[in-house]
């Protein structure tokens, strides 16, 4: 198991403006123009990731968590999508202001993405060795032979058994877990600074899911990468995340370090989610269920988007959109990294 040696051709993990976070998303908006009207999928999202840090973005379908990631990667189809507002600063530079050429250099090499469905993300008619090697041939001008050797090395790195023998196999000849490893290998190939993993284990079985999450965490530690993990699974988040951003209807409703969030959520939606999942290690009576349905993005409720489903909702929730504000202890000391977009966060966290 060899570590890919650092060559000059690989961009150094950091350069230039080194201050501030690795990735900083500021007030990002994404809209989709459809026949039924304008869908505001992302509505002013702020989050940041540092090197070596894992940010989990938690949300249900339609919360905008994947759209945000696609906007960061620059793989949104525009149109129908558009980004009317916001900044995505990578190493301090706003990627939305860059030329397409500059962004392409970042994509894959500096920021890589892992998708949920590995089978459809790999080209079925090319061998996995060729696809892995392509990264080196295209970005680093390596020869075919060297690239293949690198591919074997990478497959070893992600613990694919008999890598040298399987390098010429095609994607369909691998199992789901192995394909996801190949995706990870591909994302890692150029040692990016940031990996975005969009539901990387949702399609996998429990035992395989554990293997893949373990591998991802190990590699992240080793390369000191930033990781954005997009998921709906509160269990996976608790296992690997450092900090969490909870999304609902295109907005971040709560951010917190992982231990804090599970101990005392500061937003009724987070609390509801935590209470509504059954636990492996205890048998409850009846599950708490958040009532109603996730909102239709074509007609997001006025005020706080969560108000029709919220136990705490008052008149103010139906009129004013709550800003994401700093969460403090009862005595007023600020809780670092914690924020909540609820008019009644104090009541929610302190009871």
């Amino acid at each position: 198991m060899t570590i890919i040696d650092q060559t000059d051709a690989v961009p150094a993990p950091r350069d230039g403006e080194d201050t501030g976070p690795l990735l900083d998303v500021r007030d990002l908006h994404v809209e989709f123009h459809t026949r039924e009207g304008v869908v505001r999928a992302v509505n002013g999202v702020n989050y940041s990731v540092n090197s070596g840090e894992t940010l989990a973005v938690l949300g249900e379908s339609g919360s905008g968590k994947s759209v945000t990631a696609q906007a960061i990667m620059g793989i949104l189809d525009m149109p129908p999508a558009s980004i009317p507002q916001g900044e995505i600063r990578f190493h301090g530079r706003d990627m939305l202001a860059m030329s397409e050429e500059e962004r392409r250099k970042i994509r894959g090499a500096r920021i890589a993405m892992i998708f949920q469905d590995a089978l459809s993300s790999l080209n079925p008619v090319l061998s996995v060795g060729f696809q892995l090697g392509e990264m080196f041939r295209v970005h680093q001008g390596m020869s075919r032979k060297d690239a293949k050797a690198k591919a074997v090395e990478l497959m070893d790195r992600v613990k694919i058994p008999a890598a040298a023998a399987r390098v010429n196999d095609y994607p369909h000849q691998f199992s789901g877990g192995m394909r996801q490893r190949i995706m990870i290998a591909m994302a890692l190939a150029l040692e990016p600074d940031l990996i975005i993993a969009d539901e990387p284990t949702t399609a996998l079985d429990v035992t395989v899911q554990a293997q893949v999450m373990d591998l991802l965490a190990e590699l992240q530690r080793e390369y000191r990468m930033g990781l954005i993990l997009i998921t709906h699974d509160l269990g996976v988040v608790a296992d690997v995340a450092d900090k969490i951003a909870v999304m609902y209807a295109g907005r971040i409703v709560e951010t917190a370090p992982v231990h804090e969030l599970y101990k005392r959520p500061a937003h009724p939606y987070t609390r509801g989610l935590l209470d509504s999942i059954p636990r492996l290690d205890q048998k409850g009576q009846e599950l708490y269920a958040i009532r109603g349905l996730p909102p239709n993005l074509l007609k997001v409720p006025r005020g706080c988007a969560f108000n029709p489903r919220c136990d705490r909702a008052q008149d103010v929730c139906r009129t004013d959109v709550p800003p994401l504000v700093q969460v403090t202890e009862q005595d007023g000391t600020a809780l670092p990294g914690r924020a909540s977009a609820c008019h009644f966060w104090k009541e929610t966290i302190h009871g």
Binding site: Y262, D275, E286, L287, Y288, A289, R291, L293, P308
Partner: protein
Amino acid sequence: MSEKTIERPTTDEAALAKEIEADEKAAARQASLLKDGWADLRKRPMFIVSGLVILLLLALAVVPGLFTARSPFSDGFCQLQNSMTPPTSGHLFGYDVQGCDIYTRTVYGARNSIIVGVVTTIATTLIGGLVGMLAGLIGGWIDAVLSRVTEVFSALPLLVGGLLIMSIWGGGDVWSVSLIMAVLGWPQVFRIMRGEVISNKYNDYVAAARALGAGPGRIAFRHILPNTLAPVIVITTMNLGVYIAAEAALSYLGIGIQYPNISWGLMISDAQDRFLTSPHALLFPAGALSITVLAFIMLGDVVRDAFDPKMR
């Protein structure tokens, strides 16, 4: 956390129902998929244009007498002394080589075109749909045999098949031409129907119906058939135009409709020799044919956009 899970008040189902109700109110305006499709169609200008053209054609076919006072079958309709006279005020399309009024013949030609198109479409849809449904539903060796049979039919080119059937049965009227095209055309509908049935019969709602104890008839007609109709409707609409064009092509080549019957294809064939001196004899029937075919194909196009959910 654990105590909390247990102590939290249980969800009030009535409140939940109310919540869902509120959320659904906006959706209440919507109706069925077919009605959705219709509502969608009505808004499209292409549908209105092609629909109007087709309505006009239907009127021509059903009551040609409304559009022309003359009858092409009456004695003295054709006067040789008028041969190839260009359009005049009383005879807007002029005369053909036999001295017959082209306008009247074009109007009456619409009837045969429409009859061939409609009859062939109905025949191919019924035969292909029924056989395709059987093959898809039953599967096994019956499906294998039927599929091979359709391959034999669809391997025959239209012209060769037309020649073959004409030489066996003779004919030369709308019915024989429709028969030829139906015999050669049904495999297309068969293939679509069979594919749709197969892709639908493994759906969970079919399994659910079986689990309820539904018999094969109910599963076929209540569950599978309605879900296969949209693509069949689309292909049927498109085929109307295609068959009308094919009839003209056969007649033009002399193996379709024969004298004394009227056909646009036949009129084009007759006029082509003198195209340079008297273009009107060719242009008017050819224009009528083009507009007709285009109208049906446009209609098929908008119908597909409206009814095919995958295109939405």
